[in-house]
Symmetry: none
Subunit: 278 residues, 2 copies
DNA sequence: TAGCAGATGGAATAAATATTCCAAATCCAA
DNA sequence: TTGGATTTGGAATATTTATTCCATCTGCTA
C-alpha cells in the first residue's frame, strides 16, 4: 500500500463525515472491503447495536476484514467506530453523575458553572421532548380536559411546582380548575363531581396521596390524564391519556424545564380549545 | 429464594410486556433492585447500547445488582435482556431541527404545534440565560444565602411554582428554608429572625405581598436576594444581590424554563456551599 | 438481643468480543 | 511465467464484559 491519504489519519467525528468518507472510499476498494462498505452503508443504523461478528456475517466476510475496514475509515478499531454511533444516539448521560461529584469535591468553579450545567441539562431535556412526544396522547389529553367540567390538578413534592403552574395558567385562561395540594391533610376529593376530570402529575417515587386521588377518580369512572416520567409508572397504569416527559438529570437533581414546557403547552391548548368552542 | 412466582418463568417478549412487568414488580422491591428498576424505566431507550457496568453506574448500584434485576425480570441474564432491546432498536431520530419543524408543521393549530413553540421559547430563554447571567451577583447570592440562618422564600402567582420548587430543593439539601405563601392570609413575617435571609421571586406585575415582605425585611436590615425580570423592577430596588432572568414569551404566555433553571442552580450551589463548609 | 432470611458488594471466573498477526492466496506488471 | 505487492482468512491473543458465588451486612421476628 502506498502512503495514500486514504488511510485517513483523522477519524470522522460525525455521522455525516462518516458517510461522506464512506462514499469517497467505496470506489477504489478491494473486494472484501467493498463488501464491508456496502453492508455498513446499508445498515448504518444497526452499527450501534452490532458486534464485529454480526457485521462480518452480514457482509459475508471474515471478522478481520471488518477490522481492516474500520481502520481504513480512520478509526483505531471497531469499538472506536461504534462509539461514534452510540454517542450520536445517546447524548451524554453518563458523565453527569461524575460532573456533579466533581463540583462537590472541587467546590471551585462555583455557581456559574453549576448554572451552565443545568442550562445544558434543560436544553437536552427540551430536545428530548420533541423526539419523545406522543402526539396522539397529547391531543387526547387536550380533548378530555377541554370537555371536562372542572379540571382537578394534583401533584406533590417535585411535581407540585408543575401542578401549581398549571393551576395558574388555567385560571388565567378561565378554565375551571382546582389545585389539590393536600395542605393540612384536608382531602378535597369530594369536590370531584361527575363530568370533571383529573390531571395528575407524579414522578418516581410516586406520592401515595396522588395515587390515591387517581384511584378514587378511576373508581368513579372519571377520566384521568397523567403527566409522569415513564409509561410503566404506577400512575400511568391508572390513567388514560398518559403524557411522559423525560428530564435529563444532573446528579441527584432534575430540572423541570421539559415538564413545565409540556404543562404550559397542554394548558394553553386546553384553554384555547375551550375558548373557541364555548 | 422460595419458588416465588415473582421470578417470572417467562421472559417478556416485547417492550410493552417488559414495561408492564416492570410496573408490576417495582412496588415490592428491595432498595437496590428498586434503584435498578427506576433507572431502567427512565432509560429504556439506552439499554440497547449500554453495558452492565453503564447501567450499574447510572443506577448507582454494583453490577451484581443489575444482574439480579435482569433475573427477576425473567431473563437468563443481562445479555438476554439486552437482546430484546437490540432487536427492537429504532435508529437514531433525525436531528432536533427537523423534528421541531415537523412538530411545528404538523396538525395546524394543534397541541403539538403549541408544544413546539414553547420548546423553542424555552430553548431561547436558556440560551439567553447563559449569556446574560451576572456571575458576580450569582456568587454574592450564594454567599448571602449560604451564610443565612433560615432562608425565607417568597413568590406568588407566576413566581409561586419557582418558590415552591426552591423550597423543595432546599429541603432535599437540608438547607433550613421556609416557604411563605400567604395562604389563608396568614402572615409569617414574624418568623423571620435576625441572621436569616429572604429570597424573593417576583415578575411584573409584582405582587404586593411579596414587596411588603421584602420591605419589612429590609427595614430590619436583613439581606434580600431577588430573582426578578429586570434590574429596574420595584423588587430589584429593595434587594441587594439581584438576579435577573428574561423569559422569551410566546404569545401571552411565558414558560419558566430559564427562571427555574436559575433557581435550581442557585439552590444547589447554596446547598453544596453549606455542605462543604459546615 | 439472638437468630434468621434476605439483601448486598465485591472478588473470582467464565464467556463473548475485539484485535493482531502471519502464512497462504491472489493479482498484476514485465 | 515470475517476482513483488496487495489482499485474504483464520488462528492466536488481548481485552472487555457478563456472570456466579460467597462472605458480610441489614433488618426483622421472636
Amino acid at each position: 500500500m502506498t502512503d495514500d491519504i486514504k488511510t485517513g489519519l483523522t477519524a470522522p467525528q460525525t455521522i455525516e463525515a462518516f458517510s461522506s468518507r464512506l462514499a469517497d472510499l467505496s470506489q477504489g476498494l478491494p473486494k472484501r472491503l467493498r463488501q464491508c462498505a456496502d453492508h455498513v452503508a446499508a445498515n448504518l443504523d444497526r452499527i450501534a447495536v452490532s458486534t464485529v461478528a454480526d457485521l462480518a456475517a452480514g457482509a459475508d466476510v471474515p471478522p478481520s476484514a471488518v477490522m481492516r475496514f474500520c481502520q481504513i475509515m480512520g478509526f483505531a478499531g471497531f469499538s472506536d467506530m461504534q462509539r461514534l454511533f452510540r454517542d450520536a444516539y445517546a447524548p451524554a448521560l453518563p458523565d453527569y453523575a461524575t460532573r456533579l461529584a466533581n463540583l462537590r469535591g472541587g467546590a471551585r468553579g462555583g455557581a456559574g458553572r453549576l448554572l451552565a450545567e443545568f442550562v445544558e441539562a434543560g436544553r437536552l431535556s427540551l430536545e428530548g421532548l420533541t423526539t419523545a412526544v406522543d402526539e396522539k396522547a397529547l391531543e387526547r389529553a387536550v380533548s378530555v380536559l377541554s370537555g371536562a367540567g372542572v379540571v382537578h390538578v394534583m401533584g406533590l413534592r417535585r411535581a407540585y411546582p408543575v401542578a401549581s403552574y398549571l393551576a395558574y395558567v388555567f385560571e388565567k385562561m378561565s378554565v375551571p380548575a382546582m389545585l389539590h395540594e393536600g395542605a393540612g391533610r384536608l382531602d378535597h376529593r369530594h369536590a370531584i363531581r361527575p363530568g370533571d376530570a383529573v390531571l395528575a402529575i407524579s414522578f418516581a417515587p410516586y406520592s401515595e396521596e396522588t395515587l390515591a386521588l387517581v384511584a378514587d377518580a378511576r373508581a368513579r369512572n372519571l377520566p384521568v390524564v397523567a403527566l409522569t416520567d415513564h409509561k410503566a409508572s404506577p400512575l400511568a397504569r391508572m390513567a388514560d391519556p398518559v403524557l411522559t416527559v423525560q428530564e435529563v438529570d444532573f446528579g441527584a437533581f432534575r430540572s423541570l424545564s421539559a415538564t413545565l414546557t409540556m404543562a404550559i403547552a397542554l394548558a394553553v391548548a386546553v384553554g384555547t380549545a375551550r375558548g373557541t368552542q364555548g
